[in-house]
């Protein structure tokens, strides 16, 4: 077994191994973090290509480029890859890199398991993507895979999809266990819980969410597997089951899942804004409590995704009000970020630009979420492009922008070189403009009644859809700049200091840039 002790001792004197085995066998948190981030970037580009094929088809009404079934496969795979392949691994990668550095730990608590939880992912996603080439095509039932679309009427490849979900679930749970063990057991002396950087706090809470709900996801796909192959009737009304049960179990996982994708983003933004405002984070303790309240509330709001299934009035009211309650802790966070910036000496480097865009655009996504939370109004919005606009606003300029902000913020620490500020800003502005051109018009077509997940649409939606498609290609192609910036930052020697940013505070900025292969072999003392 590769214990933490062995890892630190054997590698202390050797540095990284050479060749491919360095990456295959590594137990080093920085190597594994790097692999997670590259994997996530590849998945982001792949999922992005699928999104662009969707937008290309929707550029005009009528069917131009693809058959409806392939369109459905694209929407399904785009959602699955972006959620499970791009956003979640990116956050795990950032946690791997930064959590040990931030709390003064030499490595993750369970280094061998860390290696395993990463290396499951390429296999899971190869299996998932390979379904595109199978007879009957890839899963085409949407990323929410509602039964009976995903059971009775599913293509044969659904079994591969189920096992891929099992594998990525195992990977996430192991990653979460590792992060909790690291944060609870490996903090440097003097690093009390209420001194933890917020990125660490938000990840600790996220990890508990993962442990609570990823097994439920595994359970629901297992039930699907049994319905499809072993003659059970969990979701089959003919056998006494109920398709609505699927939606309940799925969203019991699904709603905490959306917070899994946004809480670490809150953490990253809470690191970046104080740095560039050159002020301490306003309301640290309230940030911690707000994060914990959001995590708790995420378990009691799931049925707001299913207002139209025919719930009784009492249920609709309960889920409506509990959902609206989430606006309170989220509002606390937004006001704290604004208060942190208030009267700060702000500068606007690329990470700060992404973080600011996050605050503004995530708030817009939050407000459209409040509109969707109103049960009587939701009957009009349900399954329209308004929903698509809402969750893309919280996930793209929300989660994805925060990841980009984090990448630009920590890239000098990882590589030892400064990225090209001008190119970074160009990337930001193209992304910012592209994202808004893409997703803002979707609010309008959604309110006017355009349904989601349909390859064709009525003529009155044509102009806004053309605009959205243009924006999507601006946003999509500008991500090539991200790839360019990252590679350039690795290759072009523009040495930077240990602290990198003038206003940066925290243990991760006390180690040299690039961060040595082993850091904090002797724990630092935190005052």
């Amino acid at each position: 077994m590769g214990t933490l002790e062995q890892t630190v001792e054997t590698e202390e004197h050797h540095g990284p191994a050479r060749g491919i085995t360095r990456w295959l066998y590594t137990t080093n948190h920085k190597d594994i973090g790097t692999m997670y981030l590259w994997f996530s970037l590849i998945m982001f580009l792949l999922g992005g290509c699928m999104a662009l094929s969707i937008r290309a088809e929707l550029f005009q009404p009528g069917l131009q480029l693809m058959a409806p079934n392939f369109f459905n496969q694209m929407t399904t795979m785009h959602g699955l890859i972006m959620v499970f392949g791009a956003v979640m691994p990116a956050f795990v990668g950032l946690a791997n890199w930064m959590v040990p550095l931030m709390i003064g730990a030499p490595d993750m608590a369970l280094p061998r398991m860390n290696n395993w939880s990463f290396w499951i992912l390429p296999f899971a996603f190869s299996m998932m993507v390979s379904t595109l080439f199978m007879e009957g095509g890839a899963p085409n039932f949407g990323w929410t895979f509602y039964a009976p679309l995903s059971t009775t009427y599913a293509p044969p490849s659904v079994t591969f999809f189920i096992f891929a979900v099992h594998m990525m679930g195992i990977s996430s749970i192991m990653g979460a266990i590792n992060i909790i063990a690291t944060i609870l057991n490996l903090r440097a002396p003097g690093m009390t819980m209420m001194k933890l950087p917020l990125f660490v706090w938000t990840w600790l809470i996220t990890a508990f969410l993962l442990i609570a709900v990823m097994p439920v996801l595994a359970g629901v796909v297992t039930m699907m597997l049994m319905d499809i192959h072993f003659g059970t009737s969990f979701f089959n009304a003919a056998g006494g089951g109920d398709p609505v049960l699927f939606q309940h179990v799925f969203w019991f996982f699904g709603h905490p899942e959306v917070y899994i994708m946004i809480l670490p983003a809150f953490g990253i933004v809470s690191q970046i804004i104080p740095t560039f405002a050159r002020k301490k984070l306003f309301g640290y303790a309230s940030m911690v409590y707000a994060t914990a309240s959001i995590a708790f509330l995420s378990f009691i709001v799931w049925a707001h995704h299913m207002f139209t299934v025919g719930m009784p009035l009492a249920g609709e009211l309960f889920f409506m009000f509990s959902t609206m309650l989430i606006a309170v802790p989220t509002g606390v966070k937004v006001f704290n970020w604004v208060a942190t910036m208030f009267r700060g000496s702000m500068t606007f480097e690329t990470p700060m630009l992404f973080a600011l865009a996050f605050v503004v655009l995530f708030t817009i996504g939050g407000f459209s979420g409040l509109m969707l939370a109103i049960a009587p109004a939701d009957f009009q919005y349900h399954d329209t492009y308004f929903v698509v606009a809402h969750f893309h606003y919280v996930l793209v300029p929300g989660a994805v922008f925060s990841i980009m902000a984090g990448v630009y913020y920590w890239l000098p620490k990882w590589t030892g070189n400064m990225y090209h500020e001008g190119m970074g800003k160009l990337h930001f502005w193209l992304s910012f403009i592209g994202v808004n051109i893409t997703f803002f018009p979707m609010h309008f077509v959604g309110l006017a009644g355009m349904p989601r997940r349909i390859p064709d649409y009525a003529l009155q939606f044509a102009d806004f859809n053309a605009v959205a498609s243009v924006g999507a290609f601006i946003f999509g192609l500008s991500q090539l700049l991200l790839v360019y910036n990252v590679i350039q930052c690795i290759r072009v020697k523009r040495h930077t200091t240990a602290q990198v940013w003038e206003g940066a505070e925290g243990l991760e900025w006390t180690v040299p840039s690039p961060a040595p292969y082993h850091t904090f072999a002797q724990p630092p003392l935190v005052k």
Partner: protein
């Protein structure tokens, strides 16, 4: 370091146990959900079946009962109610029937699954006898009038004036064959 290793192992045990419990909880949601629907009468599942207690007939109002027959996809039978709607006083035993006809060339088994709208009314609709209590087997070309005996509880809230009772007919022939092959019935109990 050894002590740290111990602490890590202890914590990991707890966390793994936690995730296993949550896996179990996912499955526990299935019966919990049924129990919840049973208690609250949500989801339009009719929970009251069997012989009715004698009830006070409420002649002051009449309830409009609409009857709907739906075929599940791939179900070739003809299936319809003999009357699409009827009015009845709460507390009075009502009787109607549904017609089923098997136009195919083979023996088929069907199961009707009921649903009541509004869901609030479900717990007040008591079925004394219903064709949905049993599987229906029809030979090729055979037709049958399938009876339904019911009573509406006079406790039914005042604001409900119309109740819709819908039956969806499922072809369960393939499932039955599969469960015979496996030597055991594979279906869960019907929640009627």
């Amino acid at each position: 370091m050894a002590q740290l290793q111990n602490e890590n192992i202890k914590l990991v045990r707890k966390l793994v146990l936690g995730s296993m419990l949550m896996f179990g909880f996912g499955f526990a949601l299935v019966p919990l959900y049924d129990v919840f629907c049973d208690i609250t009468g949500l989801n339009g599942k009719v929970t009251r079946t069997g012989a009715a207690e004698p009830m006070q007939v409420d002649r002051s109002r009449e309830i409009n009962l609409q009857l709907i027959a739906v075929n599940n996809e791939a179900m070739p039978w003809q299936f319809e109610p003999i009357t699409a709607a009827m009015t009845i006083h709460p507390g009075l035993t009502g009787q109607t029937a549904f017609l089923a006809y098997n136009p195919t060339g083979q023996n088929m088994v069907a199961q009707a699954v009921p649903s009541v709208a509004p869901a609030e009314a479900a717990e007040y609709l008591q079925k004394i006898n219903c064709f949905c209590f049993e599987r229906q087997t029809l030979e090729p070309g055979q037709s049958r009038e399938m009876p339904l005996l019911f009573v509406i509880d006079p406790e039914l809230p005042e604001h409900i004036t119309t109740i819709t009772l819908s039956y969806t007919l499922f072809d369960i022939t393939p499932q039955l064959q599969a469960s015979y092959r496996n030597g055991q019935p594979s279906m869960r109990r019907f929640m009627l």
